[in-house]
């Protein structure tokens, strides 16, 4: 695939903490970690999805002013950012593995008409749904 969405970014409160979370607890890989002065472009990838990068960015100058950055940090910490979905083959197995690694789950796996979903947050407050799709019949 040569066209499509390449990077979607999340705001996080601390890039080192986010990096550790997405790599060590979720099993993502670092794609790019480039510092330019005070700015750090940091993206990670799901191992099965080489065409997509998840950006882990802190809000702040020069991209946004200090007051806007404060509002964004508050929004992230309140869980007010848009939904994120992680697709997995086996939601219960992934839940057990991630929980053992200390991931903060807000919802245990629940069956909904053949699909199974759970919910967790990253350390900053970004909320993920982890969904195991219904088996195609």
């Amino acid at each position: 695939m040569s066209q499509g969405v390449g990077v979607v970014g999340l705001y996080v409160r601390d890039q080192d903490e986010a990096l550790q979370f997405y790599v060590e607890k979720l099993g993502f890989r670092v794609h790019t970690d480039a510092k330019n002065g005070g700015y750090r472009w940091l993206t990670v990838q799901h191992p099965d999805q080489p065409s997509f990068q998840l950006g882990l960015f802190t809000p702040g100058p020069p991209t946004v002013d200090a007051a806007t950055a404060q509002t964004l940090r508050e929004s992230v910490a309140k869980g007010a950012m848009p939904p994120l979905v992680l697709v997995v083959d086996d939601c219960r197995a992934a839940y057990e593995k991630m929980r053992a690694r200390g991931v903060e789950f807000m919802q245990e796996p629940v069956d909904r008409y053949g699909s199974v979903d759970a919910g967790f947050r990253d350390p900053s407050g970004n909320g993920w749904k982890m969904i195991q799709a219904r088996k195609a019949s």
């Binding site: 508050e74 992230v76 910490a77 309140k78 939904p83 807000m106 245990e108 979903d117 947050r121 407050g125």
Partner: protein, 163 residues
């Protein structure tokens, strides 16, 4: 009341944890001291900070979650209304029915009949996100809403929020 009050993101993250805990177990009792412990703040600080952060007092938030769950059970299952009342955390069927009507504008049995008659194909939105999108938007206390609908006549209505 108007304008944005700046709050410490670190505190907000801990308040979010209390909100998540209510989401995960809305049928349980969530007195302020329990919520304050989850957030590691004093009880006095908790109630005010929660409202500043999420726009509603913690107990009204819990109420919307219970109504949301009850609505889903009425719509999607054949569980009896009595069982739904107790499963979603109410101590009496009467309180459940009255509160449900106050919040949604119809009784649990009317809602069930209407939803089941108009059963349509679910849209391709994850069910968990869909149910949050249909959460009742309680901008005032239930007792207050009740008073307004009664034409502000009976001010003697109970002042405490249910549940």
């Amino acid at each position: 009341m108007n304008g944005h009050t700046s709050q410490d993101p670190e505190l907000l993250r801990r308040l979010l944890r209390a909100k998540d805990r209510m989401d995960a177990a809305s049928h349980e009792e969530w007195p302020v001291d329990r919520l304050a412990r989850v957030s590691h703040v004093s009880e006095a600080h908790f109630a005010r900070s929660f409202k500043d952060a999420f726009g509603v007092p913690p107990h009204r938030y819990l109420l919307t979650r219970r109504i949301e769950r009850a609505t889903a059970l009425l719509r999607d299952t054949e569980v009896s209304i009595t069982d739904i009342a107790f499963q979603t955390g109410w101590k009496s069927l009467g309180t459940f029915g009255r509160t449900f009507r106050d919040v949604t504008g119809e009784s649990p049995s009317d809602l069930r009949a209407r939803e089941q008659a108009a059963r349509h194909q679910p849209e391709p939105v994850p069910a968990c996100i869909l149910s949050a999108a249909h959460r009742p938007n309680l901008t005032s206390a239930v007792s207050e809403k009740r008073r307004q609908e009664a034409g502000d006549i009976n001010d003697s209505e109970e002042k405490t929020e249910v549940p």
